[in-house]
Symmetry: C2
Subunit: 503 residues, 2 copies
């Protein structure tokens, strides 16, 4: 069996070698590629995808998985082999269940939908995008049928990003969260004027911003000998291997938090990637347990660490150094409030940590209604706007700042949005775990001492890679599932103090 | 037949889509990759190479080539189809002739040889590299046997880089060239003090150097919407497609010519790539007719254009702008002499255009002697040193500045060096062609007007891609083969004027 396992590992590692190449091509596309390169790049990426898919779905792999699965589980749930076979079997089953024709049709439809969306958003013209959204919904339904599900087709899609999660479990979680957040949002709105972000608005040299965020991520624990940070239009993290995990950030000349928290966010993703055990490289065990678990890492570093008062104490001298004269009179407290201003807004990616999850709830509810045919595509903008009014008391002027703002649906991704909120919730559970295991950790950032925090995350989360489903990982390490309370408690405590109201 | 041709084209374009991906990975490796990325990158590159080779050597391709070859030639030598089939047949025959075991052994041996060479050069220890050189020679002999040849195994290797060239044809050419150059070198040596390069030595801000060379290559005609220029340890050009041709350069703080002429050189390669007809993309017709023809482009722009007095007239104001104060008192004539100083030196890549080709002759003679067993590897350093003494009157102190200076042999490349000299010779033939077709072109660079020169190269060379063997291309366009006289005349005229001796 051991020999067969080695054979399987070798075969599968070749698939990951191709996927790693694809990741390099995508990174280059977003970071370096001149406009002329687009055509050839699309051809190369599609050739690699086809080769990878063919190699991965080779029936020989299926036979080896079937032969080895029970043997591997017999070595114990925690063994490398058992985790390897669990993760591979899951991925392999999904890959073989999807008919190549559907994959091809999906890929072509998405390519057209992204082009249409780009133009439709520019023109704020939902009608131009509507037929593409219908097509994407139809293809996602067919995908769900091909993958199979028990209760809702949404479950099959959700499972692609958050394995094991279901609509039935998520609904009450998101409902409870929204119920807890809405009063907080109201109280903040009543005192909107009491917090200003003027300190971080102005004119900040962008190359000084890059120097600053390079310093910050290095201090957080990002290893530049196994990665690099560049600029791109939309910040992202990509793993070519455990030892080459790259991040990008975005600088905005007149708004300093963009780069700082964008970098801290991507750094959180990258620390997860760089913390993956070396022996997981080029195996199905590399990568995060789920999108939600990945997002828990990025949100933890971005919000719970970098948007804390102790962090601002450490950050302020760095800002004074990089932007001479600009922060001389500022206090850590002023910086802290400036980077934590909360206000209802139209755009999800610009939302603060209080309002953010309602943007997700809105999308979750709309996706389900659309997928189940309870909402017609042509009626979607109206529902979007009325939900915005209901959640935040504001409504988009047009589709560009409403239903057309996100690229996800054009990319064919239905069921992805909830992972952002799952990440937020878990990030607070991690902080609660640290409170138990390493009391006093919240003050460490003031000294620029992040290593104890990182080493705890390494031991409790990173070391497992994709060995367990996210639910199982939480249960094993923390004895619980995804919970709303830690996050709600965190938000209430932080923002009641900041805005001066009773929690 | 047309349908079959379309089928063949589709199959082959997928191979080029993979090769383009490999090129991106190699570029990233040399330009961006953090040290940690090396392991995964090697695995990805080797996976892609294997896939590309398998797809290319698929017997189906061989059958289609056999079926289509005569039909295509019937459409006329100049037709796309005829050129396509000629180039593809040549490449395909080479690929199928090489047994996969030999390719694998070669690749492993080279990987070890490069590591050994890196260390051996650091330690200036030829003995440590000798066994690897023996292995490389042995594998090259086996490669030559597999590929087949009429007279010398060297021909089979040479043909990989300079299709159609033979040792028997090259020997008299190189001999005649050396005979013409040696007296010039002696005359220059006798007046060594009359030309100084002090003007271009000093302290030049490296980011200003990058701005400068970006300006220069853009002015020469390099299209930044279909390429980019970065820094790397060794400058190179790489084509991902006709519309994404990237160059790199090297800045040296205390020596300005490094970046300027490095960029002009790579720009010459890139103009060839960017000038390839769009319909050649992802076909065997993309790329240069040969290494020598490619080098003729880079040398033409680097030496004949950029090291001319008119070019220096145009360059000087740019230098004054980028390095304020530094060139105020300099004249174009002083700049011209500073960038054309000639002196015997140990290192090929640092050699000037007069002495350069003797470095190549030395390597050509040694490669043949080694390959034919007339020279034992252990005796090679001694022969190297005595040839240096003979050619230049100087001898290396150690192997690092002698026989270990170049990476080519460690890379497994025997028969590559002559292409540099072929390129130099053709570059002078191109200049002579321009003299006929566009009299007065030599003064154009003074006005920064390079477009007429480029458009002539486009029409006479670039437009053909790999449609003809280099010999056939020269014959068709210029009615001649590779000639020594134009280059010798150019060198004699230029350097006798510069150093003040009778030509």
């Amino acid at each position: 069996m051991k020999e067969k396992f080695q054979e399987l590992k070798k075969r599968v590692s070749e698939v990951y070698a191709i996927n790693s190449a694809s990741a390099v091509l995508s990174w280059d596309q977003q970071v370096n590629m001149p406009p002329g390169g687009a055509g050839a790049r699309a051809a190369s990426l599609s050739a690699l995808e086809e080769l990878s898919h063919a190699k991965f779905t080779d029936p020989g792999n299926g036979r080896l998985i079937a032969e080895l699965y029970d043997w591997a589980q017999g070595l114990g749930e925690d063994s490398f082999e058992a985790g390897y076979l669990r993760a591979l079997k899951r991925d392999h089953e999904k890959a073989v269940k999807l008919p190549p024709e559907l994959v091809g049709e999906f890929s072509r439809a998405v390519s057209e939908a992204v082009n249409a969306w780009t133009k439709a958003r520019e023109d704020s013209d939902f009608k131009a995008f509507a037929p593409h959204l219908r097509k994407v919904l139809d293809l996602n339904l067919r995908k769900a049928e091909a993958l199979g599900y028990k209760n809702s087709p949404y479950d099959a899609l959700l499972d692609l990003y958050e394995p094991g999660a279901t609509r039935a479990e998520l609904e009450p979680v998101l409902g409870k969260l929204a119920g807890g957040l809405k009063p907080v949002i109201k109280k903040i709105a009543a005192r909107a004027g009491s917090v200003s972000n003027a300190l971080v608005l102005g004119d900040f040299d962008e190359s000084a911003q890059m120097d600053l965020v390079n310093d910050i991520v290095q201090k957080l624990g990002y290893d530049f000998s196994r990665g690099r940070q560049d600029r791109s239009a939309h910040p992202f993290t990509t793993d070519f291997s455990v030892d080459d995990v790259r991040i990008t950030t975005r600088t905005q000349k007149d708004y300093l938090p963009m780069a700082i928290f964008g970098s801290a966010h991507e750094c959180g993703h990258a620390l997860y990637g760089q913390g993956t055990p070396k022996e997981f490289d080029f195996t199905p065990l590399a990568g995060g347990a789920s999108q939600g678990m990945h997002e828990s890492q990025s949100r933890f570093w971005e919000n719970i660490v970098a948007r804390s008062l102790p962090f601002c104490r450490w950050l302020l001298p760095l800002l004074r150094e990089r932007f001479p004269g600009r922060f001389d009179k500022a206090s850590p407290e002023l910086l802290y409030s400036a980077v934590n201003r909360s206000a209802p807004s139209m755009i999800r990616v610009e939302a603060d940590e209080v309002t953010y999850n309602l943007h997700i709830l809105l999308r979750f509810e709309m996706e389900i209604a659309l997928l189940e045919g309870k909402l017609k595509v042509q009626d979607a903008p109206e529902l979007w706007n009325s939900k915005m009014k209901d959640f935040f008391g504001i409504a988009p002027k047009n589709s560009a700042e409403g239903i057309l703002q996100d690229i996800h649906w054009a990319y064919g991704m239905i069921g992805y949005f909830p992972t952002y909120t799952i990440g937020n919730l878990i990030s607070a559970q991690l902080a609660a775990g640290l409170d138990k295991d390493r009391p006093g950790w919240r003050e460490l950032p003031a000294k620029g001492d992040f290593a104890p925090i990182l080493s705890w995350l390494r031991a409790r989360v990173h070391v497992h890679g994709r060995k367990y489903l996210p639910g199982r990982l939480l249960e094993k390490e923390f004895g619980e599932g995804v919970k709303v309370e830690p996050f709600l408690d965190y938000i209430k405590a932080k923002y009641s103090a900041l805005y001066g109201f009773k929690p």
